[in-house]
């Protein structure tokens, strides 16, 4: 009888525990937001960015492109073209994101350009076999209280808004953990021997915003008009009589 009562009680307690910590891991689900845009990332180690010669040269080439964007000229650039921004840049977008946590998968939906990432848990990353993507290909595992995401197979992107470059072999490791009940820390380690002489890490923090909802990001409307002009051929031809 004691066993039966114990089973009944444990059922209730286990249910409550699952609600608080899904799958026995910290619950990272919810809407997170840092309203500060990160223009240029810097290593958390405090040192200068460890460029290789190739990395420094590429960064110097990228800077004029970024300046062109800043002056609102029609540069073919990720943001102006509504292309996904890549990692770690998307963490610094200044817009919220929502995490969905499942045993087999974690989904991160960023408001920025409706970017979403599917992180497949307890699988092995095969970056050479994966199709390249702007957000790469990601697998995850739990390391104590941290969700560790390993990613590779990236299409060309910038690491930040200042134009930090990366090469074909970029690997990114992200460690997501709650540092208190309402703050999420994301440590993003860049490992790219072509552009950087050693791995280096960027730190972001986000506050939990349960009252917020992810909005429909409107990339494209104003941008298309600015690129092609409101009287341009593209918009004239789109609609009858326009």
């Amino acid at each position: 009888m004691k066993v039966f009562v114990g089973v009944v009680l444990s059922f209730g307690l286990a249910t409550a525990a699952r609600a608080a910590e899904p799958q026995g891991h910290p619950d990272l689900s919810g809407v997170w937001w840092s309203k500060q845009k990160v223009a240029a990332v810097r290593p958390v180690e405090g040192a200068a960015i460890p460029f290789t010669a190739a990395g420094a040269a590429q960064y110097a080439k990228n800077k004029p492109v970024i300046r062109e964007i800043d002056s609102k000229l029609p540069a073919l650039h990720a943001v102006k073209r509504c292309l996904p921004q890549g990692v770690p840049r998307v963490w610094g977008s200044g817009l919220p994101f929502q995490i969905f946590q499942r045993p087999e998968e974690v989904v991160i939906a960023y408001e920025q350009d409706h970017i979403r990432r599917f992180v497949y848990m307890d699988e092995k990353l095969d970056a050479d076999a994966a199709d390249p993507g702007y957000m790469g290909s990601s697998v995850g595992h739990w390391d104590g209280g941290a969700l560790v995401i390993d990613s590779g197979a990236y299409k060309p992107t910038y690491l930040d808004n200042s134009g930090l470059p990366h090469g074909d072999k970029l690997k990114v490791t992200e460690r997501l953990r709650k540092i208190d009940g309402k703050t999420l820390e994301v440590l993003t380690t860049i490992d790219d021997p072509e552009m950087y002489s050693k791995p280096w890490t960027v730190r972001y923090t986000f506050a939990l915003h349960p009252e917020e909802q992810i909005q429909d990001y409107m990339c494209g409307v104003g941008i298309v008009q600015s690129r092609f002009g409101t009287e341009g051929a593209v918009l004239k031809l789109r609609h009858h009589g326009s």
Partner: protein, 234 residues
């Protein structure tokens, strides 16, 4: 010390809790889905449930004819695809691409392969007083038995149904339910759009469940914008 009556009462209480949970449990739409071929994208696949012709307004019909003629003449039709603009739930779910549903008690998230779009449907929520118009509109939902009823307003007038353009006055209601032992998902869509249609009408789409390990790749239509450069010559 606990007697038999107390234990029986505890057991009955636990049983009642389980039964109540089961009774309240919403159907699980989680998984990956793809439109059935019969309902897949194409102007000819937009059919009214009552079998009557599509009740387009004269303005919508003129737009439709214009786009159809461009296609017939071999000219480019500037779909949302080329501009990197979302197509909205209905059109994105009609393409020959997968979409994934992630379901939570108060939220269903629909992640489309088509142009990496997604939309969130909040259960038992209300539309904001001032909806900001967008391609996907603002969606709220509730359960009616085993049917998820998704009410969407706030379209921006640039959301297509193939070559038919929904207006900013569009109001759609989708009724989604599992059929075929959960292997398929039925979507009965009601359109009330006085800008594009002369009367409300309904269409049906059925999606089939994909294998559990099916993955949604990254598709980015904004990459197609290079094609736009040639349009100045037309």
């Amino acid at each position: 010390m606990m007697n038999l009556k107390m234990i029986a009462a505890a057991a009955m209480g636990a049983g009642a809790m389980l039964a109540a949970t089961a009774a309240c449990a919403a159907p699980d739409f989680s998984g990956v889905w793809m439109v059935q071929r019969f309902y897949a994208t194409g102007n000819d696949k937009i059919r009214t449930l009552d079998g009557l012709p599509l009740p387009m307004t004269p303005a919508a019909k003129a737009e439709y004819d214009y786009l159809q003629k461009r296609e017939a003449d071999g000219l480019t039709v500037i779909h949302n695809t080329m501009l990197g603009w979302p197509k909205g739930f209905i059109q994105a779910s009609r393409g020959n691409f997968d979409f994934k549903v992630v379901q939570e008690p108060k939220l269903l998230a629909f992640f489309f392969d088509e142009d990496h779009q997604y939309t969130f449907v909040h259960i038992d929520a209300k539309h904001p007083a001032n909806v900001k118009p967008s391609f996907l509109g603002d969606s709220v939902a509730h359960w009616e038995g085993d049917t998820l009823v998704v009410d969407t307003i706030g379209y921006n007038g640039e959301t297509p149904l193939n070559n038919i353009q929904m207006s900013a006055k569009a109001h759609t209601v989708m009724r989604l339910r599992l059929i075929n032992d959960g292997k398929s998902l039925e979507n009965i869509i009601s359109f009330d759009d006085p800008g594009a249609f002369t009367r409300p009408w309904q269409m049906k789409i059925i999606y089939d469940r994909r294998p559990p390990k099916e993955r949604i790749p990254e598709s980015v239509y904004a990459e197609n914008d290079h094609d736009l450069a040639s349009l100045d010559e037309q």
